[in-house]
């Protein structure tokens, strides 16, 4: 259990893992996540389940700090000390008609199961994939059953130059959609939600709040949805992006910035250059 079966580098600092865990593989639904603790003094970090296959499940991890650096250093054969899950409410998958799904950065991984499930439920799905530049796209062949796939890069190295929400805005001028999803960095989800709001389109976003337990027991992941307090881990992680208080969400994400920096510095002092990223 919890053994890394396969590992693949997708881009600088972005790694794919297949991990053995029958229970999670059997039970995971699109939109759900797990909590990892890589070792005994490790912290609990939430990661989305980005696919399942028999007795294993897949995650795609972006190295941003100590815990994810450490995780990305692990090799096939290594074991993750603890994986708790699946957690969170699954995405609301059903027949809507025409659906637009936006994935940005590592969010591309998160939307794969959602897009596939939406297609299986008979929806026409258009996808916008956004990243910093061409080399940060991955697993794009897994979107081949989508109606259309649009690419956007910050630097214009592939597809349209610009941001995901700009592409979304353009598409909404030409086409009608019944519902949308946007998953990626907070700023991207915020901007997409504003576009959706303007167009009266319901949009699901997946909030990557800072979590501890992931089971509704601490309230650390609380967010304001339509001015009401919700716990991301048990009430979400998906919420209607038009109702999210983005400013408070993003401020809360920065809570431990100094501590995170310190932890990473200390770690790099110990292990040297993170050549494995």
């Amino acid at each position: 259990m919890n053994e890394i079966l396969e590992k693949k580098k997708l881009a600088y600092g972005v790694h794919l893992f297949w991990i053995k865990n029958e229970l999670i593989a059997k039970k995971a639904k699109p939109g759900q996540f797990v909590i990892f603790r890589t070792h005994d003094s490790g912290e609990r970090i939430p990661i989305t389940i980005a696919g399942v296959n028999n007795n294993k499940f897949r995650v795609i991890v972006k190295a941003v700090g100590k815990s994810t650096y450490e995780l990305c250093k692990l090799q096939p054969g290594d074991k993750i000390a603890d994986i708790s899950g699946p957690l969170g409410m699954p995405s609301e998958i059903k027949f809507y008609g025409k659906v637009l799904v936006v994935g940005g950065g590592v969010g591309i991984a998160t939307i794969i199961p959602i897009v596939q499930a939406l297609i299986s439920s008979g929806n026409d799905v258009d996808v916008i994939l956004a990243s910093r530049s061409r080399e940060f796209f991955f697993l794009t062949d897994e979107f081949e059953n989508a109606k259309n796939v649009y690419y956007v890069t910050d630097d214009g190295s592939f597809g349209d130059k610009g941001f995901a929400h700009e592409k979304m805005d353009k598409l909404l001028k030409e086409k009608q959609y019944d519902i949308a999803w946007a998953i990626g960095p907070a700023l991207m989800m915020k901007a997409c939600s504003e576009v959706a709001k303007k167009n009266n389109l319901k949009i699901w976003v997946s909030l990557n709040a800072i979590m501890v337990d992931g089971t509704g027991m601490c309230g650390g992941c609380r967010v304001l949805i339509n001015n009401e307090m919700k716990y991301t881990c048990v009430d979400g992680p998906e919420f209607d992006g038009r109702l999210v208080n983005w400013d408070s969400f993003m401020i809360r994400l920065s809570q431990y910035r100094e501590e995170e920096k310190l932890a990473l510095e200390r770690y790099l002092e110990k292990v040297g250059e993170p050549t494995w990223l």
Partner: protein, 456 residues
């Protein structure tokens, strides 16, 4: 007859203990325990037993201490209570056994809790093997959900009776509040681990990291197991909901304590989980949780004030812990209620409070706090910790269709733990709302009796 004063346990000095998370009370030495045990009158009709929720033979185990038969004393104790080292430390004895000891009439009651703890610790230090007698193997399977005191007790009881027991826990460590709520300085985690290891010896299959409801559906449990015990606690924190609750620096006590106790954030960066090291901490509430949070914050180097809306006499926390908190230098601001958090760039900087006065008694029998208009004032604070109570843990209940809940959202169960579903039993905080360790254990045990009857 003159009653000798009770023997105080050995405690570490406030100035020393306030700097670390090691245990405050060192308990009794053998000699002190014997002296205290000799004070017991060995009543023919011992009132103390009626005050103990699991009916421990109190004079019985105390008598053996006075005769230096520590092992025998331990056997008596353990036959009633599977977590004596825990209960001896955290039970509110002043309102239970000690509260009804006859010696209250003439002086100070017997220190039953300290004696219980002494015997349990003695047994651990002397590596006393627990005698495991499993009556006979019964080919029936029990699922226990949640490894807090209720679940641990139910699992142990069912295993002793010969059933096959699977214990499910969503966290990476078993123990419930004993590991994530109550701090090391009151209840060392090594002790909880030892007591949990006893379950493994009984053959209980402990399955960690499994959120029941998500990883295992209640329907599957109903199909696979002959009976189910739910002991998932009341772990969801409540917030007052005043303006500014979303500010950085505002914590629920559960989050703060989970970071400290379970994740060892006080060792950051040796442990990976961070916690803020604040200068001025305000803890809101007057229960055990508030005391634990306040004393933990103090140990991280903060200047700590407890803000409570009633007066000191109404505080529900254990008296001993309020005393400990005071000795360690925690300030108390009673008859005060926060009304607004004040932030700067998203970080908490101060709390606006209002003064209160006490009115008529409310349904709980305590005098109701009423705000005094115009008495608002501001306290400087870079961290606020709300310890105003918890509610039912939603993780499982949202998935358990057909399970009846009461109007507060807790599981409806009778005195024997029977719920609205035939195979399903429940006990502990998820039935009663936040209560005590021993009541959760008592509920786990009662439900075991009912489950056995049901399965027979």
């Amino acid at each position: 007859m003159a009653v000798k004063d009770r023997i105080p346990p050995v405690e570490r000095k406030p100035e020393e203990r306030a700097k670390d998370f090691e245990e405050v009370s060192l308990g009794y030495t053998e000699e002190l325990a014997i002296l205290e045990a000799k004070r017991c009158l060995q009543c023919k009709v011992p009132t103390c037993v009626s005050g103990c929720p699991v009916g421990i033979d109190i004079p019985g185990f105390i008598k053996e201490i006075s005769k230096r038969n520590f092992e025998k004393s331990y056997r008596i104790l353990k036959s009633y209570n599977s977590l004596p080292a825990v209960c001896g430390r955290v039970c509110p004895q002043e309102v239970q056994c000690e509260g009804v000891c006859v010696l209250n009439k003439a002086g100070k009651p017997i220190s039953i809790g300290n004696l219980e703890r002494f015997v349990a610790d003695w047994a651990m230090q002397n590596n006393l093997e627990d005698k495991i007698t499993i009556e006979r193997k019964i080919n029936k399977k029990i699922a226990v959900i949640g490894s807090g005191p209720a679940g641990l007790t139910n699992a142990a009881e069912m295993a002793k009776r010969g059933y096959v027991v699977d214990l499910y826990e969503v966290f990476h460590t078993p123990g419930g509040v004993l590991v994530y709520g109550i701090p090391e300085f009151r209840l060392p985690k090594a002790i909880v681990n030892k007591e949990v290891a006893f379950l493994e010896k009984l053959g209980v299959n402990i399955k960690l990291d499994i959120p029941v409801g998500f990883a295992v559906h209640p329907m599957e449990l109903l199909e696979t197991y002959d009976a189910i015990f739910i002991g998932v606690g009341a772990g969801t924190p409540k917030f007052m909901g005043i303006d500014g609750t979303e500010l950085n620096g505002v914590y629920s006590a559960n989050e703060f304590l989970t970071r400290i106790n379970l994740m060892k954030a006080y060792k950051f960066p040796e442990a990976d989980t961070p916690v803020k090291f604040a200068k001025n901490v305000v803890v809101i509430g007057g229960g055990n949780t508030a005391m634990d949070a306040a004393r933990s914050a103090l140990r991280l180097g903060a200047n700590v004030t407890v803000v409570y809306r009633r007066s000191k006499v109404e505080m529900p926390a254990r008296k001993a812990e309020i005393e400990h908190a005071k000795e360690e230098g925690i300030k108390f601001q009673t008859l005060t209620q926060p009304v607004r958090y004040i932030g700067n760039n998203g970080r908490l900087v101060a709390i606006e409070c209002i003064k209160m006065k006490l009115g008529e008694p409310d349904s709980s029998g305590r005098r109701r706090p009423i705000p005094i208009e115009g008495s608002n004032f501001v306290i400087k604070a870079d961290m606020a910790i709300e310890a105003i109570g918890t509610q039912a843990n939603k993780l499982l209940l949202s998935q358990f269709e057909g399970l009846e809940l009461n109007k507060w959202g807790y599981i409806k169960a009778d005195d024997y733990g029977k719920t609205s579903l035939p195979k399903v039993f429940a006990g502990g905080d998820i039935v009663t709302g936040s209560a005590t360790v021993i009541l959760a254990m008592g509920a786990g045990k009662k439900a075991a009796n009912a489950m056995e009857k049901f399965l027979y």
